[in-house]
Amino acid sequence: MAVKTEGIGKQWDPATYEVGAEKIREFANAIGASNPVHLDHEAAKAAGFHDLVAPPMFCVVYSARAMGPAILDPEIGMNLAAMLHGSQEFEWEEPVCDGDVISTTASCLEIYEKDGKGFYVFETISTNQDGEQTVKGTWTNIVRGV
């Protein structure tokens, strides 16, 4: 069985995420990011942020909401039971802070087959309430035995 490629180029509706202080703290604690700018409003403001700032990898929290529909889309047709996260890239721009509203759009960049595995490459672009880009993500999922 070969991979389906009709989904290449497909773009999904943007997903919105409202950033909150306790979610930033919870995420920072889970990954061990101890810089006070992630935990203390005043420390963040003193460092030049408009409020508590998220660790860079917090982008997985707000962009996952856009990736969900892409991964589950029958037109893409991924066998989730055999899926592995192969590789991941993020390019960061504007920092994300408490109170920001982030909008993320996912699209399918590539689908191809190699050595009996399916490779599914998605891109997410996230922007804040002022239209500034916060992160671009490139997500490569591998499905065994396609």
């Binding site: 990011a33 810089n35 990898m57 996952a64 590789s87 991941q88 890239e89 993020f90 390019e91 960061w92």
Partner: protein, 132 residues
């Protein structure tokens, strides 16, 4: 001001041992409740030795190791790409080590590896860090 870092310099090593329940806390924090990360029984049923760490949690440790070059400033990390090449497990120490590949002005390119013992769970990780 250009950084003093040069090609071949080591990034401060980061060592962290995720406790038994870390995958549960990270699941809650990230929203990724895939049972292979939090349910050892389910994980064994699908052929894994036990519940495995979230790849993106391990990536966050690589991010943290690189941000150390700029005192943990969240603005310092400009780009990070990783390949997930092994399974990580709770209750085993994860060691993140990096080497500067290129330093150009205040931008530094770092090659990073994350391993549990001989098991290199993240390889070919490439980070671009702004080091003021």
């Amino acid at each position: 001001m250009p950084t003093d870092l040069k090609s071949g310099d080591a990034v401060p090593e980061l060592r962290v041992t995720p406790d038994k329940y870390l995958p549960h806390r990270y699941a809650g924090a990230s929203g990724d409740f895939n049972p292979i990360h939090i349910d050892p029984e389910f994980a064994r049923q699908v052929g894994l030795p036990g519940n495995i760490l979230h790849g993106l949690w391990m990536m966050a440790q690589v991010a943290r190791a690189n941000a150390q070059l700029a005192d943990g400033d969240p603005r310092s990390l400009k780009r990070l790409s990783v390949q997930f090449r092994g399974m990580g497990f709770p209750e085993q120490e994860l060691v993140v080590s990096g080497t500067v590949k290129e330093a150009d002005g205040d931008r530094v390119l770092v090659d990073t590896v994350a391993a549990q013992g001989e098991n290199r769970v993240i390889r070919n990780a490439e980070a671009v860090v702004h080091v003021p």
